[in-house]
Symmetry: C3
Subunit: 214 residues, 3 copies
C-alpha cells in the first residue's frame, strides 16, 4: 500500500538523501543568482555563471544517480513514476537558473534588467520552500499539513514572480528604445520567470504525492 | 474491458459532465477572443482579458476537480491516464487563449496584428468541433464515425491556422519597420497559433481514445 | 522478461524496420539541410523546404504506422512505452529540421546566419550516429558496447552544437545592427540548435533501453 513512504524511511533510505541534495542544489544556485543580479560587469558574470554551472552539473549527477537507483530497485511503476517526476522537476529548476545565467553571459546586456534582482529573490524564497517541503517528505504522514503549507507558499511566490515579470515587460516595451537591449533583457528575464514556474510545478507534484500517500 | 465507456455512462457519470464543461470553457474563451480582436483600445483590452481570465480560472477549477475525482475513483491506470490527458489538453487550450489575451494587455500593441481576427475565428471553429466531439464521448461506440469527423476537422483547422500565421509572419517581416511593434505582434500571434496547435492535439487524443475503446 | 528484444527480432519484426526508416528520414533531412545552408536565394530555399517537408511527411506516416502497430500488438505497457517514446523522439528531430527549413522560407533572411552550415553539419553527424545506433537495436545484447559509444557521440555532438550556437549568438548581438535580420537569424538558428538537443535525447532514450534490456 505505502511503498512510497517505505522508500523514504530507514529501510529504504537511498532516494530521500538524493532528493534532499537536489533541493540543496536549487538553494545554492538561487543564492548565487541573487548575488549575480547585483553585479554589472562581464568578468563577474562569467564567474557567477561558472559557479552556477557547477551546481547544474551537481544536479545532473544526482539525477543520473536517482534514475540508476530507480532502475535497480524493485518498486511499483506507480511509486517509480512519482520519484522520477519529482527528481526531474527539481533538476529542471536548476536547469532554468543555469540557462538564465548563461544568457546573461551570452547576451552581455549593458545593464541588468529592471526587476531582475527582485525576481531572483522571489526564486530564492521558492527554493527555501522547496527545501523545507522535501525535508519533510520522509515523515509525510506526520507533516502533511506543514508540507501543504509550503506548497501554498510556492503557489503564492509564483504569482508574485508573475507580477514582477509582467511589470518588467510593460515597462520594457514602454521605455527601452534600444531594441537589441530590449531583446537581451526579455530573454534573460523570461528564463528566470520560467524557473519560478517550475518551482511551482515542484509544489504541485509534492501536493499530489501527499494526496496519494499521506 | 471497457471501463472507459463505463465511466462516462450513467453508472459512473462524474467525469463526463466535467469534460463537457471544460469544452464549454474553451468555447466561451474563444468567443471572447474573437470579440477581443475587433477592439483597439487598452481599456477594452483590459476588460476582455479579465473576462478570459475568469474562464481560465473556471478551467483550472474543473481540472482540479477531475484530478481529485481520478485520485478517489478506483479505475485502471490505463483509463485514468486517458481521462487525465484529455482534461489536461482541454485546459491547455484555454491557457493558451488566456496567455494570448494577457500578452495583448502587457505588450499593448499600437494595433492588433494583421490576421489576428481571422486566426481567432479559426480557433473558435476548432472550439466548436472540440465541443461537439466531447459531447459524443459518452456514446462513443455509437458515434465513433461522427467523432472521427470532428477530429479531421480539427486537423484541417490547424492547417488553416498555420497558413494564416505563416502569411502573417511573412508580411510582418516584410512590412513592419517598427521592430518593437514587430516583436509585440509576433508574441501575440504565436500564442494564438499555439492555441490552435493544442486544439488539434485534443483531436489526436480523442482519436486515440476511439481506437482503444470504440 | 525480454519482450523488447523479442519484438525487434525475426519473430516480431514489425517495429524494427519502422524505427530504422525513422532514422533514415533524419539522415535524409539533415543531408538536405546541409545543402540548404549553402544556398542564398529564396527560390532554392523554397525548393529545399519542399524536399525536407516531404521527409517530415514520411516521418509522420511512419510514426502513425508504429503507433497503430503498438495499439494492435499485445505487449507490456513497459515495452510499449519505450518504443513509443523512441519513435516520438526520432520524429521530433525531423520535425525540428522541417521547422528550421520553414523558418528560412518564412523569415527570408538577407543571408544565412553565421555558423548555420557548421551547425547543420554537426546535426548531420548526429543523424549518422542515430542511424548506426538504431541499426544495432535488434542485436542490442551483442552490441550494447557499440551502441553506448554512439550515445556518447550524440552527447559530444550536442556540446559541439551548443558551442557553435553560443558563438553565433554572442557574435550576432555584438555585430548585427539590423534588428529585423538579427531576429530572423536567431529564430532560424535556435530551431536548428533544438534539433541537436532532440538528437541527444534520442541517445538518452537508447541508453535507457540498453540499461533495461541488454
Amino acid at each position: 500500500m505505502n511503498n512510497f513512504l517505505n522508500m523514504l524511511t530507514p529501510k529504504e533510505p537511498k532516494f530521500f538523501p538524493i532528493l534532499k541534495e537536489l533541493a540543496d542544489v536549487i538553494l545554492v544556485a538561487s543564492d548565487l543568482m541573487v548575488e549575480f543580479m547585483k553585479t554589472n560587469d562581464h568578468e563577474s558574470a562569467i564567474e557567477y555563471y561558472k559557479k552556477i554551472k557547477e551546481q547544474e552539473k551537481r544536479g545532473d549527477a544526482l539525477s543520473h544517480k536517482i534514475f540508476d537507483e530507480l532502475n535497480l530497485t524493485f518498486i511499483t511503476p506507480f511509486d517509480r513514476e512519482d520519484i522520477h517526476l519529482l527528481a526531474t522537476r527539481l533538476d529542471d529548476v536548476t536547469d532554468r537558473i543555469n540557462s538564465c545565467a548563461k544568457r546573461i553571459v551570452l547576451y552581455n546586456p549593458k545593464s541588468m534588467p529592471q526587476g531582475a534582482l527582485e525576481l531572483a529573490m522571489t526564486l530564492k524564497e521558492a527554493a527555501v520552500a522547496i527545501d523545507k517541503a522535501v525535508d519533510e517528505l520522509n515523515v509525510l504522514r506526520k507533516s502533511s499539513k506543514k508540507i501543504k503549507q509550503y506548497c501554498v507558499e510556492l503557489h503564492d511566490l509564483e504569482h508574485q514572480a508573475d507580477d514582477i515579470y509582467e511589470h518588467f515587460l510593460i515597462n520594457l516595451f514602454e521605455k527601452e528604445d534600444d531594441v537589441k537591449e530590449l531583446i537581451r533583457h526579455k530573454e534573460i528575464m523570461s528564463e528566470l520567470e520560467k524557473a519560478t514556474d517550475v518551482a511551482e510545478l515542484v509544489g504541485k507534484i509534492i501536493k499530489t504525492i501527499i494526496v496519494k500517500y499521506a
